[in-house]
C-alpha cells in the first residue's frame, strides 16, 4: 500500500498544479481589481492605486501570463501574495482555515455516524412507520436549501430565547464565542453554544444524504446469505445485523462519506455567512466581491488538495474495510 500512496501523491502534485493554475488564470482574466479602485469615493490617487495593484501582482497593464509567472515563482518560494487589504494571504489563510475546522469538525463526525446508524435502522424496519417518517423528513430537508434552513434555525433560536427570557440569550447564533466568557468551562460552554445551530444547519442535509445510501445498501445486505449464516450460528438478530450487516453495508457508503466529509473542510459559504463565522467560506465570498485573485487562487489550491486527499483516503479506507480490495 505504501508504494501505491507514493505513486498517487506524485500524480496529485501535477493535478493540483493544473487545477490551481487554471483557477488563477481564470480569476486573473475575469476580475477587474482596477475598477474597484476607480469606483471608490473619494477616488484613490493613481500613484497609490498602481502601487497597490503592483504589490498585489494584479496590475492589469501587465500581461496575464507575466503575472501568472510571478505568482508561480512566489508560490514556489512559499509566498502566496497579498489580499485585497494588503495582508499576507498565508497569514489570512492560517487564521480562516482553523475557523472552518472548528466549525465543521463536529458536524462532519456527527453526520457520518448518525447518517449510517439512521440508514441502517430504517432498513431493518423497512416500510414500518419510523422508516416512512424518516424518509419523509429526509425529502423535506433535501428540498430545503441551506440558505433557507440556516435563517430558519436562527428564527427558531430567537423565539426560543424570547420564551426562555433571562439576561443572556440561551441560544447563540452569531460568531464563535462570547468574548466575555471566562474560565475553561465557561469558554467551552460558550463555544458549544455558538456551535449548536451551525452544526445542525450543516448536519441535517448530510445525515439525510448518507442515510438514504446506507438504507439502500443495508437492504441488500439484510437479504444476504451470510447474515442468515450468522443468525444460524446463534447470534441474536441485533448482534448479527450490527456485526455482520452494518460492517459490510458501510463499505460502499464510506466512499461517499469520505468525500463529503473532507470537502466540508473547504468551507461552508452559506452557514459561515449566516452565523457570522469568518472561515474559508466567508473569505472566499469576500475575495470574489473584491476581485482578489491571490485569495481565490489559494482557496482553490486548498480545495484541490482536499479533493485529492479525499480520493486517496476513500481508496485507503475501502481497502482497509474490504479485504477483497487490493491497492
Amino acid at each position: 500500500m505504501g508504494a501505491f500512496i507514493v505513486r498517487r501523491l506524485l500524480n496529485y502534485v501535477v493535478l493540483v498544479f493544473v487545477a490551481t493554475s487554471l483557477a488563477y488564470l481564470g480569476a486573473a482574466t475575469a476580475f477587474h481589481p482596477k475598477d474597484m479602485y476607480l469606483q471608490k469615493n473619494p477616488p484613490t490617487p493613481a500613484v497609490v492605486m498602481y502601487h497597490e495593484l503592483n504589490e498585489r501582482n494584479d496590475n492589469p497593464d501587465k500581461p496575464v501570463l507575466e503575472r501568472y509567472a510571478h505568482w508561480v515563482d512566489g508560490v514556489a518560494h512559499g509566498d502566496f501574495g497579498q489580499t485585497w487589504q494588503l495582508d499576507s494571504v498565508s497569514k489570512h489563510f492560517s487564521i480562516s482555515v482553523w475557523v472552518t475546522v472548528r466549525l465543521v469538525t463536529v458536524a462532519a463526525v456527527i453526520s457520518a455516524v448518525a447518517g449510517i446508524l439512521i440508514g441502517s435502522f430504517q432498513a431493518v424496519r423497512q416500510y414500518k412507520f419510523s422508516d416512512h417518517a424518516i424518509t419523509f423528513g429526509s425529502y423535506i430537508i433535501f428540498a430545503m436549501p441551506v440558505f433557507v434552513l440556516a435563517p430558519l434555525l436562527k428564527l427558531v433560536a430567537v423565539q426560543v430565547n424570547k420564551a426562555v427570557g433571562g439576561n443572556t440569550p440561551l441560544l447563540q447564533y452569531q460568531g464563535e464565542i462570547d468574548p466575555d466568557a471566562t474560565g475553561f468551562w465557561g469558554q467551552l460552554f460558550s463555544r458549544a453554544d455558538h456551535l449548536l445551530l451551525p452544526t445542525i444547519s450543516l448536519s441535517l442535509g448530510l445525515i439525510a444524504f448518507y442515510s438514504r445510501y446506507q438504507r439502500g445498501q443495508m437492504l441488500d445486505v439484510l437479504g444476504s446469505d451470510f447474515l442468515r449464516t450468522a443468525r444460524a450460528k446463534g447470534l441474536s438478530k441485533s448482534r448479527a445485523i450490527l456485526k455482520h450487516g452494518v460492517r459490510t453495508a458501510v463499505i460502499p457508503v464510506m466512499t461517499l462519506v469520505t468525500y463529503s466529509t473532507i470537502l466540508t473542510f473547504a468551507g461552508a459559504i452559506i452557514t459561515e455567512r449566516v452565523f457570522g463565522w469568518n472561515g474559508l467560506g466567508s473569505w472566499f465570498t469576500d475575495a470574489t466581491n473584491h476581485s482578489d485573485v491571490n485569495s481565490v487562487a489559494v482557496i482553490t489550491l486548498f480545495s484541490a488538495v482536499l479533493v485529492l486527499i479525499a480520493g486517496m483516503l476513500s481508496d485507503v479506507i475501502t481497502a482497509l474495510l474490504d479485504p477483497r480490495v487490493r491497492l
Binding site: F226, R228, A230, R231, A232, K233, G234, S236, H244, P323
Partner: protein
C-alpha cells in the same frame, strides 16, 4: 484427516443408535403460510417426521416444494410475514413460539445448518478463523487462545490443509469446496444434536461433492448428530440417508426407509422422479434407457384446490384424484406411507410400477445405420489453444503469467453424432466453445467446419457459416431478453439473415410446434413460461436457421429433474428428425452418458480421455475419468452402499500454474502408488493422448493408463 478432536460431550452418545425411543427432533403437522399480494402462499402444508439421534433423513423435492422453508422454520429464521403452525419439538421441548433470544441459544448449539451456496454464505469481510471462533464463543465461554485452538482443530477435522495459515484467510481466498468445509466446521463447532443441510453440494463439482459428502459423514460420526439432508439429487440421498421424505407442493407425498422409496415407490411423482434421471449404471438395448419425463409443471401454491396437487401431471389420474387430496397413509400392512389415491393398485401390482409412465421410443435416424467412418466430419478441432495473458500494473502493464485455458485439444464431430464434452468448472469447456463460435483463426491449431478452415473464411462466408452452427446456453432465464416476446426472439436470427417478416412469422410458428409449444405462444413474454419451456424456446431459436451443428452449453443443468428429462428427450428427438450433430457440454456425466455417442473428458485445458460412450464409461482408462465417474452418486441405495469411492484430493489447480509433466499428477491416486522411476516419468513427460490397445475409438492421455470399472 486427523481424528484427534476431542469433542466435549460426544462421548455420552451412542454411535449407532437404533431409531427407536424418543425422537430427537419431532415435527408434527407443520404449516407455513406467507402472505403476498396474490393471496396466501401455502409453502408448507402439513409436514410431519421424527428424527432420531445419528439418523439421516433426506428430504427430496423440486424447487418450490417447500423443503427449504420447512428447514428454516425449524431454525426459526423465516421472514416476519410467515405464519407457522403445528409443532416442532427438540428433545421434547417445543420450539415454535420461542422468542428470538431463546432460539438464538438453540441455533448453532443444538441445531446447526449448512447452506447451499458457500460463495455467499460467509461474511466477506471477516477471516475464516474469526468466523469459526465466533460460532464457538457465541455459545461457550472460551478464552481467545482456547477458541483459536479449537477452531484450528475444526479446520483440520473438515479437511482443510495447513489450518494455521488458512485460519487468517478471507472467504474469497477459498475455493467453493473449501468454503463449504468451513461451513461444516462452523456447523459442528458446538457439537450439535441436529445438522440441517440445505443442498450442501448443489453448487459444487462432482469430485468436490464427493469430498464434501465424505467430510459431512466424518463430522456426523464425530458428533453423533442427526442430519436432515435437503436435496433435489436422488443420487446424493441414496447413499447418504437412512430414510427419505419426498415433498411435492408443500407436502410429503411419500415417506419411508431409503430402500423402500427407491425399490418400492408408491406414488407416481416418486416413480416419475426416479424414471426421469439419466443414470450412469443402467443401459438399455441400444446402450440407452429412455427417460420418462413428468409432463407439466408444479401447481401454484396460491389457492390450491382440494385435489391431489399432482393430478394434472399424473398418468394414472382418476376422478377421485380431482375431488379430494389424498392423505399420507400406508399402501399396505407392511408398506410405508404415501399420498396417492391409487396406492393400493400400485401396491398390489394392478398397475406395474414400470408402466405408470409411458416409455418413450428412442428415436432413430437413417444415419445410425451408417458406420461412423463413412459419415463426413462436420466440425474438426485440431491442436486448439487459447492462452490469456495475466497482466499486472496500472499504467505500465507487464505480463506476469499465462492462463492456459485451452492448451491444445483435438476432436471431431461427424454427421448426426453427439459429442459430450465433460469436465469440472474451470477446465476450459466454455473457452473451447467460444473459440469455435468465433469462427476465426485460433492462437494455435485449427478449427474446420464442414471441411473449410475458419481461418480462411471471408467476412461474408463467415456470416453464412454462422447459420450452420448455433448455440443453446445454460440459463434460459438469462439468455432470453425479458422485454422481447418469444416470437421475436426466435425470429431474430432469421431477420438477421434477411428473412422477410411474413416468412419469419411462419417459421416461428413451425419452430414452436417443433419444440412442443403452441404457435400462439409467440406473442408471450419469457416470464410467462417455466424454466423447461424457456429452454425449449432457446432450442427453437437455435434451430431457426436449420443449423447442422448445435452447441449445447449445459442445456439442462439449470432445470429441475422432472423437467430436465423432457428437454433431453426433445433434444434426442430433434437430432434424429433433423439430422443434427451436437456438441454437448456438461458437468453431469449421467446426462452425457444418456445423450452422447462419444465423450471427451477435459482436465485443465486438455482432453485426457476420448472415445465412444460405452468404452469410456464402462472401462475408463485415465485416472481422472475414473475418479470423476466414481464421484457420481447413483440413485440406487444398495449399489451406493457397496461402492467405494476414489476421492481426489484438493481442487482443480489454477490454469495459470499448470504442473510440469502430467498435469493431473498432483491429484492422481495412481501416481501415489507408482515407484520412483515411474513417478519421475509423470513429472517430466507430458503424456500424449494415444489409442487404447485393441480399441478403435478410445484414447487416453496417461503414461500408465489402465482400464478400471468404477460404476
Amino acid at each position: 484427516m486427523s481424528q484427534n478432536l476431542l469433542l466435549t460431550d460426544a462421548a455420552g452418545r451412542p454411535k449407532n443408535p437404533a431409531p427407536t425411543g424418543t425422537p430427537l427432533l419431532s415435527v408434527r403437522d407443520l404449516h407455513v403460510t406467507f402472505s403476498s399480494e396474490a393471496g396466501d402462499v401455502r409453502a408448507v402444508r402439513g409436514v410431519s417426521y421424527d428424527l432420531h439421534p445419528g439418523e439421516v433423513l433426506g428430504i427430496v423435492g423440486e424447487s418450490g416444494s417447500g423443503k427449504s422453508v420447512s428447514a428454516m422454520a425449524i431454525l426459526g429464521l423465516l421472514p416476519d410475514n410467515a405464519r407457522i403452525t403445528g409443532s416442532i419439538k427438540l428433545e421434547g421441548r417445543e420450539l415454535l413460539g420461542l422468542g428470538d433470544k431463546r432460539m438464538s441459544k438453540i441455533r448453532g448449539k443444538d441445531i446447526a445448518m449448512v447452506f447451499q451456496d458457500p460463495l455467499s454464505a460467509l461474511t466477506p469481510v471477516f477471516t475464516v478463523g474469526d468466523q469459526i471462533v465466533e460460532a464457538l464463543t457465541v455459545h461457550q465461554k472460551l478464552s481467545r487462545d482456547a477458541a483459536r485452538k479449537r477452531a484450528l482443530e475444526l479446520l483440520d477435522v473438515v479437511g482443510i490443509p495447513d489450518p494455521e495459515r488458512r485460519f487468517k484467510n478471507f472467504p474469497h481466498e477459498f475455493s467453493g469446496g473449501m468454503r463449504q468445509r468451513v461451513m461444516i466446521a462452523m456447523a459442528i463447532a458446538n457439537d450439535p444434536k441436529v445438522i440441517l443441510c440445505d443442498e450442501p453440494t448443489t453448487a459444487l463439482d462432482v469430485t468436490i461433492q464427493a469430498q464434501i459428502l465424505e467430510a459431512l459423514k466424518n463430522a456426523q460420526e464425530l458428533t453423533g448428530a442427526a442430519i436432515l439432508m435437503i436435496t433435489h439429487d436422488l443420487g446424493v440421498v441414496a447413499g447418504f440417508a437412512d430414510k427419505v421424505s419426498v415433498m411435492y407442493a408443500g407436502r410429503p407425498v411419500e415417506q419411508g426407509a431409503v430402500d423402500e422409496i427407491y425399490y418400492r415407490p408408491r406414488m407416481p411423482y416418486t416413480i416419475g422422479l426416479l424414471g426421469s434421471i439419466p443414470r450412469l449404471d443402467v443401459s438399455g438395448e441400444h446402450g440407452r434407457r429412455p427417460l420418462t419425463p413428468i409432463e407439466g409443471n408444479p401447481p401454484s401454491m396460491v389457492d390450491l384446490p382440494d385435489a391431489c396437487p399432482f393430478a394434472d401431471r399424473c398418468p394414472i389420474v382418476t376422478d377421485i384424484c380431482r375431488d379430494a387430496e389424498p392423505e399420507l397413509l400406508p399402501a399396505g400392512p407392511d408398506s410405508h406411507p404415501s399420498a396417492c389415491h391409487r396406492r393400493a393398485d400400485l401396491e398390489s401390482g394392478t398397475i406395474p410400477i414400470d408402466q405408470v409412465y409411458p416409455v418413450p421410443e428412442i428415436p432413430e435416424t437413417h444415419l445410425d445405420a451408417v458406420p461412423r467412418e463413412q459419415r463426413s466430419p462436420v466440425l474438426e478441432v485440431k491442436g486448439l489453444q487459447k492462452h490469456f495473458p495475466l497482466m499486472r500494473g496500472a499504467v505500465f502493464k507487464r505480463r506476469v503469467g499465462t492462463v492456459k485455458a485451452v492448451d491444445g485439444i483435438d476432436f471431431e464431430i461427424r454427421e448426426g453424432e453427439t459429442l459430450g464434452l465433460v469436465g469440472e468448472s474451470g477446465c476450459g469447456k466454455t473457452t473451447t466453445l467460444l473459440e469455435i463460435l468465433e469462427l476465426v483463426a485460433p492462437q494455435a491449431g485449427s478449427i474446420a467446419v464442414f471441411g473449410s478452415q475458419a481461418a480462411n473464411l471471408s467476412g461474408r462466408e463467415r456470416m453464412e457459416m454462422r447459420k450452420d452452427i448455433q448455440i443453446v446456453f445454460q440459463d434460459p432465464m438469462a439468455s432470453l431478453d425479458p422485454r422481447m416476446p418469444v416470437g421475436e426472439a426466435i425470429a431474430e436470427p432469421l431477420r438477421t439473415h434477411g428473412w422477410s417478416q411474413d416468412k419469419a412469422y411462419e417459421r416461428v410458428a413451425e419452430l414452436l410446434e417443433l419444440v412442443g409449444l403452441e404457435p400462439y405462444h409467440a406473442s408471450r413474454f419469457p416470464r410467462e413460461f417455466s424454466g423447461g419451456q424457456r429452454q425449449r424456446i432457446c432450442v427453437a431459436r437455435a434451430l431457426a436457421l436449420n443449423p447442422k451443428v448445435v452447441i449445447l452449453d449445459e442445456p439442462v443443468s439449470a432445470l429441475d429433474v422432472s423437467i430436465q428429462a423432457g428437454v433431453i428427450n426433445l433434444l434426442d428427438e430433434l437430432r434424429a428428425k433433423l439430422g443434427l450433430s451436437y456438441l454437448f457440454v456438461a458437468h453431469d456425466l449421467s446426462v452425457v452418458r444418456h445423450i452422447a455417442d462419444r465423450v471427451a473428458v477435459m482436465y485443465l485445458g486438455r482432453i485426457v480421455e476420448i472415445g465412444d460412450v460405452s468404452s469410456v464409461f464402462e472401462l475408463p482408462s485415465h485416472p481422472y475419468t475414473q475418479a470423476l465417474l466414481s464421484a457420481i452418486p447413483l440413485p440406487d441405495p444398495r449399489k451406493e452402499r457397496e461402492r467405494s469411492r476414489i476421492l481426489l484430493p484438493g481442487d482443480l489447480p489454477s490454469p495459470a500454474n499448470v504442473p510440469s509433466g502430467c498435469r493431473f499428477r498432483d491429484r492422481c491416486f495412481k501416481y501415489a502408488s507408482l515407484n520412483a522411476a515411474e513417478q519421475s516419468k509423470c513429472r517430466d513427460e507430458d503424456p500424449v493422448i494415444v489409442a487404447r490397445p485393441g480399441k478403435q475409438d478410445h484414447a487416453a492421455a496417461c503414461h500408465f493408463a489402465d482400464a478400471l470399472e468404477v460404476v
